[in-house]
């Protein structure tokens, strides 16, 4: 009661001095800036970094509407409107890139995404702490090696000239398979590599969610006669449901983000038709062949779809009652 009166009278008192208070506010701000002087100095390198290496390239995206000529430079190059986009949309590689990117992304989602969840559930059921810890240490290992190492190991093991997989096939009386040059093996290999490298590491986030489950829930379920399978389905799984949903949405937002390094390292002349994706196409045509404006247009198209997916994914997250990512 008294609080309300006090606030009302306070506002009434301030009204006539509106102009004064604006000046006072500005003075307060200036004083605050002077107080925080060092904070602004500290910001300089970071802000410069974002402006030069993040926002300057965003402005450079305008190159997609120009014909870039290296000797004239960015500003002098002539505007050409949507020429590069028209060229890209009518190019046969447009359909190819779209199909490849989409199929590999969908395969990753269908075959890679569930693996860490299943492995985390299995690890969670283990009671022998030492065994569990050693298993975890081992399955995290591949995550720390570069894609060059992973691709290198794949090459060494799958080559037809002395690779152990083909030696085994030959030893069993089969015909050697040229996995590395095969169109039908490219996509399965990409997904298998992904699982081998990242699935173990991916369990961490689910294990963290699982460690928060109240043990008394299991007790209660057991008293009600639930066996271990039913405990897993009705206690454990619901506990990590929101983690699964959030990660699935994040994954959908980055759906087209396949990782340049992995695909590029596994591509060769024989599997390009099933393996070429937007990023590798941009690299080979932009950096290697110097078609800067054209590939900027391709990149802009790709980034625009990516942005759309992220915004859409975030909307879905909010509808599911999750916090959303931004």
């Amino acid at each position: 009661m008294t609080g309300r009166t006090f606030r009302a009278s306070g506002r009434a008192a301030r009204l006539p001095a509106e102009a004064d208070s604006r000046k006072a506010r500005r003075r307060r701000r200036l004083r605050q800036i002077r107080l925080d002087y060092w904070l602004y100095v500290m910001l300089i390198p970071g802000v410069l970094y974002f402006v030069i290496f993040k926002y300057l390239p965003m402005w450079g995206v305008l190159l997609a509407f120009k014909d870039y000529q290296p000797f004239i430079g960015f500003a002098g190059s002539p505007w050409v409107g949507f020429k590069h986009f028209e060229r890209f949309f009518t190019d046969p590689s447009f359909g190819l890139l779209f199909r490849n990117t989409f199929i590999i992304a969908a395969m990753n989602l269908a075959f890679f995404f569930p693996v860490p969840i299943v492995v985390a559930l299995m690890l969670n059921e283990m009671r022998l702490a030492l065994f569990k810890r050693i298993a975890q240490t081992f399955i995290y290992v591949p995550h720390f090696f570069s894609w060059v190492v992973i691709a290198g190991i794949t090459y060494i093991m799958l080559t037809t000239e002395g690779g152990i997989v083909n030696e085994a096939i030959a030893g069993a009386g089969g015909d050697k398979v040229n996995f590395l040059m095969s169109e039908s093996w490219f996509r399965p290999l990409i997904v298998l590599q992904m699982i081998w490298k990242e699935a173990g590491w991916g369990t961490i986030i689910f294990l963290a969610a699982l460690s928060g489950v109240d043990p008394s829930l299991y007790e209660a379920a057991r008293i009600d006669g639930a066996n271990r399978w039913r405990q897993m389905m009705h206690v454990t799984l619901p506990a990590i449901r929101s983690t699964i949903v959030i990660l699935l949405i994040l994954r959908l937002g980055n759906f087209l983000d396949l990782g340049f390094e992995q695909i590029y390292l596994m591509l060769n002349a024989m599997n390009r038709d099933v393996g070429e994706i937007f990023d590798t196409y941009i690299y080979t045509n932009g950096i290697q062949r110097g078609l800067f404006s054209y590939t900027t247009a391709v990149g802009l198209f790709n980034a625009a779809i990516g942005l759309l997916l992220i915004v859409a994914a975030n909307k879905i997250a909010k509808r599911f009652g999750e916090e959303g990512v931004f």
């Binding site: 970071g46 965003m58 995290y140 290198g152 152990i164 900027t296």
Partner: protein, 293 residues
């Protein structure tokens, strides 16, 4: 906890332990095989394709790949990039995260928005390449150090970490006459050492493994980091390291498979040595990001 000793439960455990055990083996057997293959003689590798523990040890493949300084020089480049790059990352990230964690900062919201937007949209490979080129950084190590100096994600996580520190500390230090830079260096950073150590690990691993940046920006083979060299030798089978002229006259050059295995093992020695000790910090560190603020 009451143990469930029913038949079904035991069978479940048996299957579970077996499958997880197999997965763990699948994860490391290729590495064990590579190490074994790199340490043995050509003859033993021929007789035993699935070699895991060599009976005859031989360092010939290492002696051969180290007979020229190609791989050692590349390792030197990678070590330099990792150390310098991580230092730059930590300095830049900390310096920017701290002001952003302070609520009195004017335009704080706008600055955060500027950072967040780069996580959703970026200029892409070609415009970034052209900026680096226009700055004259092509073919210089700066091109590997500067364009990734701050990871927006790590910046936000570090900012959130700083926000959890108690407010009173800064107030009292300020009354004692310390400015914000001194507060950051003497007070905030020592309190945040566990977090900073974790960020250093992640940044360091990403520098060591970086492949895209060097193939974009470095043409000069003298300046190649070890990832590029590995690709040349193992995947493209070009530009092998090692010089048979340097070896003793009766030296037999080991087969290609053994040499490639040796190159992978040697190039990743630092990770192989360090991993067992740091593994638990990585696993803890990844969860720093899940604290939302």
């Amino acid at each position: 906890m009451v143990q469930d000793r029913s038949w079904g439960s035991r069978l479940f455990s048996l299957v579970n332990y077996t499958v997880v055990g197999l997965l763990a083996l699948i994860a490391i057997i290729p590495f064990v095989h590579l190490i074994a293959a790199s340490l043995t003689t050509a003859q033993e590798l021929r007789e035993q394709t699935f070699l895991l523990f060599p009976t005859v040890l031989s360092l010939d493949s290492y002696r051969y790949i180290l007979s020229t300084d190609t791989i050692v020089r590349s390792m030197g480049v990678t070590i330099f990039i990792t150390v310098a790059g991580t230092s730059i990352n930590i300095a830049m990230t900390t310096l920017m995260a701290y002001p952003l964690a302070r609520r009195t900062l004017i335009a704080r919201e706008q600055l955060l928005l500027m950072v967040l937007f780069t996580m959703m949209f970026n200029g892409g490979m070609i415009p970034t390449f052209l900026v680096v080129k226009e700055l004259g950084l092509l073919n210089s190590y700066w091109a590997l150090l500067l364009p990734g100096a701050i990871s927006a994600f790590n910046l936000i996580v570090m900012k959130n970490f700083f926000q959890q520190l108690p407010d009173g500390l800064e107030e009292s230090a300020k009354i004692d006459g310390a400015n914000d830079l001194i507060i950051l260096i003497r007070l905030v950073i020592p309190l945040s050492m566990p977090a900073i150590a974790t960020f250093s690990l992640f940044y360091a691993v990403s520098h060591w493994n970086s492949f895209l940046a060097p193939i974009l920006y470095i043409n000069d083979s003298d300046k190649w980091p070890v990832q590029i060299l590995m690709r040349q030798i193992i995947i493209l089978s070009q530009g092998g390291v090692g010089d048979s002229e340097e070896m003793a006259p009766d030296f037999v050059v080991p087969p290609e498979q053994t040499l490639k295995a040796a190159v992978i093992v040697f190039s990743n020695l630092p990770i192989l040595i360090v991993y067992p000790f740091l593994q638990k910090y990585f696993a803890k560190g990844i969860l720093l990001g899940s604290v939302k603020g």
